[in-house]
Every structure is written in structure tokens, then in C-alpha cells.
Symmetry: C2
Subunit: 325 residues, 2 copies
């Protein structure tokens, strides 16, 4: 198995379970924004999960859904995006730069899910290059990216489109010298195969979700192209390992102690998404996962300490002192 | 009545109720830290409430309790402060600079109150001058300070001590040219009288809490020297006005629509502390207060928008558009 240096940052070790900020820290700050990433980093969280989609003029931008979503996008009049929700891949970067993604519409089903998220003004959809530039600053040399590539559901059979997006993203990451701090992350296993071919220096992270678990309100459906998991989660680690994955990233409600153990036996790291409630976080700590992806990274930090863990060598000391008293 | 320019920032107006970050944003980031203030400002909240205490060597520092509190202070070994909790006024600045106030002890009664607060390392108790320096930067020209002076409960009868702390604090604020962006805020009405004498260019904000409402876990008792309010809150606005106050800041559970209206009739602004739960925030919006002090400023922003308000001219537009749909 290839040894990737960037996997260390995503691996549990004695007294350490990792915290990964989901779209920055969606519970607290607007998702997939530079403001949200800055907050997450300020909390001492060094692993950032976020989503990349391509514009019409081939700029990799950081946003989750393929269609701009009314409940999180305002136009130049501060009104929620009127009319049909346009597809990001039909817009140029210059079009996106007019929009404000600093706040949630609190009346929307999606907005109701995050009642503590701050409401900001004049926040732009970031380019992937904006985030890369930020973390090349010396104080962020330990920051790693869990870079999710969103496959266009209209182009799942289009190998050329897959190749184009992987090439564009890999080249952007390489141009900042960040290959050794990047994990390629996707629900689309065909796309991950393409990542392994085009960017073999970056390990791959395979997302899964059992079909029984419905998609979340206000978000593009998670399932794109991955194997049939109707028989349950326990087969998933085998499939990820066979596909050459380095990390398995199951939906937290799908996961069992048996599956986590099997994955780790196979040499995989296990990160669970998206774990927000205290009881759920506690449960994941109990399962011995490597990393927890959360919209509330501060809350995960606090639960880790409560269980005698940290999320880095330094914070493990705090957890241990706590555990010993 | 003197017209203070800084009162505008604390005043409700058409479609606007103000948000004041309590000790920064204690629900999310460590209280009374530069990291917490930076987060609060990043949320677009421009009014900062915080507490000032003097060190032995006469440095005004930003911390709430007179005694360093074990549940929020770690020593150089990352252990919760061992032994007797020392008094800030018995320590020099250099002693304080050794301590880490980046995290809460989650097992403490106080820590349990803020389960989402991020846990940081290498965070220092700020000097008042640190915060003043930050907000003199051009991008923060609209930031105002609700500067609470904590009277030493052992020196409530000591007029010279009162005069010394007011002089030191006022001079620090003046040295940064921030008098017109500062409100002097205290539970100690004798101290506020001294503020009016020594620093007449800064308006005063009178804190009250009915004796029935017990002090909060892990915090110095709020009552120091203020009039007897056992007869209820409705007399408070009269007393604040008589004392020359510009703002009345009652505990939110004490307040009634009648008292708010009476205060505003008397020309006072009304800011309520510390309002954290959604239902409580909604109730305060309904009472027509000028400003809401909260540990969760993002949550208050969201409730204001839900009610068709903003917290600034810009965000009022968002609230109005929302209200009209």
C-alpha cells in the first residue's frame, strides 16, 4: 500500500481523535466560505472539509450544490435568489462574484437546521485558489484539505467531464504545492478512480451512505456513483480497500463497531460524517473512529476532552490531564 | 441631557435592534479573549461587551472575575489552575501572561453551561490596550465598547480605589482616541458616578438585577453597589435617569414592557443581558428593547431577521425584504 504522508493528520493515535470542520463550521458560520474556514482554523481545527464544483469558465469554486440554492444565496439587492436556481456550471466566475453567500434564509427548511449560524454580508463564493492561498501561509502549515469533488449528476456517464474536473482540481492544488496536504474525497467512486490515475500522489477518501438514509433537506442528494450497499455497511470497507482507497467516510448512522474495526484492519482510516449532536459524537468516540466530521467542531473538541482525548498532540495532553483527575 | 454620539450605535431605530456580543461571544469562543472578539467582529457584530479588572501593577486587563477561576484558566502545564484561586489585583501583568484562558473545564459547573465553546490553546488574558489597538484599525471604525468596570467587592467603601480604576481605564481609552466609541458600564452605581465626574465625555450604562435572581454558576456575584430594587424593576429606570445614566441594562428576566417603555420615555436606551435562548430572544424583541446582550450573537441575528429586523442599516434591508415576503 502506498504510504501517503498526509494520512497521518487524519489518523487517530494514542489519546487523539481528529476533528474535521464540515464546510468550515456550518453550524456557526456560513458554509464553504473563507469566513467560515478562518473561524474553523481559529478554533485550532486543522482539517477542512469542503466541496468543489466547476464554473462554466472552468474555475474550481467552493460550494456544495450544483444549482445555486435560494436559501443560502442573495442577489445584489440582498434578496434571496429569485427565479429558477441556476446551475453553477452554466455561470462564469464573474457571475458568481456578484452573489452573497453570507447568510441562511431562516424561513427555509435548510435554514431552520442551523439556527446559530451567523448572518454575514458581502461574502463571496470562494475559489479553490483562495483557500489554497490562505493555507500556504506559514501559520497554517499543518492544515490539511479533505477536498470533496462533486460530480455533476447529469454527467455521471461522461468520462471526459470527470477527467477534466479532476485535472483542473489537481493542477490547482499542485500549483500551490499542497498535494501532500490534500485528500481527494467523493461519493463518486468512478471519479475517485480517475483521481488515482491523474493525481496518484494524493490519497482518496470514499464517501458512502446507505440508501435507507434519506438525503438532508436543502442539499443535493449524496448518492452519485458508488456500489450497491443495500446489503449493509459492513461490505463497504472491503470495497473501499479493493478500490485503492485510503480513507473510508461513511454516514455516521450507518456505521458499526464491526465495520470500523474491519476498515482499520484493512489499513483504512475511518472518518464519519456529519456528526453534530452530543450523543452522536459520544457514540462515534466510543466506536474508535479516526476522525469526526462536524458542523460544530467546538462541540466535538469539548466531547473529546470529556472522554480524555485531544485532537492533536498538544490537546491530547489536556485530555489526559483531565482524564487523570 | 448631554448628547453622546456613541449612543446612536446602541439605539434601536426603524427595523433595527442592536446586538451586543457578551464577553465577545462566550457561547462559541473563550470569553474575554482577543480570539473571541475577533470572531464576534467577523460575524458583523459591532458592539462588544467585556469586563475590566486591574492588576497589582495597574494594568487594566479584560477578565470577568476578581479571582482567576480554575474552570477557565490553565497553568503552563495545561493543567487547571491548582491551589487557591489568586486575586487578579494581587498579581502583576507578567504573572497573568503565563496563563492560558483558551478553554473551559467541561466537568465544571461553569463549563457545562457552554458546551459549544471551542477549546483553544495559548490564549492570553488581554490587556484593555490590546482590544483598543485592534478596534482603531480602519475596518473597525464602527465598533463600540460596552466597557464594564468590575468593582472589587473588598473595596466598595474605598473611594480612592474607585477613582484610581476609573482614571486608569478612562486614560487608556482616551490614549487610543476611543472615548466617543465607549460606554462605561457597571453594577456599581458609585463607580458610575465617579465615571461621570472623571470621564464626562463617556456615557454611562447602569446594570441592574433583582435580588430574587441568583447569581450564575461560576461567576462573581453581580450585585455590588446599586439601589435597593426589592420593590421590583419598574423603579429602576427612574433611578438610572436620576443618576444621569444614558443606558439601562437590566437582567432580561427582570424586565417588563412597562419598564422598557418608561425607560425610553425618560430618554434612556435599554439593553438587556444575557439573552441566550431562542424564546427569550423572541420575547426581548417583542418588548422593543434597544439592544440584546448575548453569548450567541449569531443566534440573535437570526431571530432578528425572523422578526423582520436587522442590527444595522444594511441588515435592516435584509430583515425588511424577508418581512415583506
Amino acid at each position: 500500500m502506498v504510504q501517503y504522508p498526509q494520512l497521518e493528520a487524519f489518523s487517530a493515535k494514542e489519546g487523539v481523535i481528529r476533528v474535521i470542520g464540515h464546510r468550515g463550521a456550518r453550524g456557526i458560520m456560513p458554509e464553504n466560505t473563507m469566513e467560515g474556514f478562518a473561524f474553523t482554523l481559529a478554533c485550532g481545527v486543522r482539517l477542512l472539509e469542503f466541496d468543489v464544483v466547476m464554473t462554466k469558465d472552468n474555475v474550481p469554486v467552493i460550494t456544495h450544490n450544483h444549482h445555486l440554492t435560494r436559501s443560502i444565496v442573495r442577489d445584489g439587492n440582498d434578496d434571496w435568489l429569485p427565479g429558477e436556481e441556476p446551475k453553477v456550471s452554466d455561470l462564469d466566475w464573474a457571475d458568481l462574484a456578484q452573489l452573497d453567500v453570507g447568510g441562511l434564509d431562516g424561513d427555509s427548511e435548510y435554514g431552520l437546521r442551523f439556527p446559530d449560524q451567523a448572518f454575514l454580508c458581502d461574502v463571496r463564493i470562494p475559489k479553490l485558489s483562495d483557500l489554497c492561498r490562505l493555507i500556504t501561509q506559514p501559520e497554517y502549515e499543518d492544515v490539511h484539505m479533505m477536498l470533496e469533488i462533486k460530480s455533476d449528476p447529469d454527467k455521471l456517464q461522461d468520462a471526459a467531464a470527470r477527467s477534466a474536473i479532476v485535472t483542473a482540481v489537481a493542477n490547482e492544488v499542485r500549483s500551490f504545492g499542497l498535494s501532500e496536504r490534500t485528500l481527494m474525497h467523493s461519493f463518486d467512486w468512478n471519479l475517485l478512480a480517475e483521481c488515482k490515475r491523474i493525481a496518484p500522489e494524493m490519497p482518496t477518501s470514499f464517501l458512502t451512505q446507505l440508501p435507507d438514509n434519506a438525503a438532508d433537506a436543502g442539499e443535493d442528494h449524496a448518492i452519485t456513483a458508488c456500489p450497491d450497499l443495500t446489503t449493509g455497511t459492513v461490505i463497504a470497507p472491503e470495497l473501499v480497500a479493493q478500490a485503492g482507497g485510503s480513507l473510508w467516510c461513511p454516514y455516521f448512522q450507518d456505521v458499526t463497531a464491526e465495520a470500523v474495526a474491519r476498515a482499520q484492519d484493512l489499513g483504512l482510516r475511518v472518518a464519519v460524517w456529519t456528526v453534530n449532536e452530543v450523543e452522536e459524537i459520544d457514540q462515534m468516540i466510543g466506536l474508535g473512529v479516526d476522525a469526526i466530521v462536524s458542523d460544530y467542531p467546538g462541540r466535538v473538541q469539548r466531547r473529546l476532552l470529556a472522554h480524555g482525548f485531544g485532537w492533536s498532540a498538544r490537546t491530547a495532553v489536556v485530555g489526559t490531564l483531565k482524564a487523570s483527575t
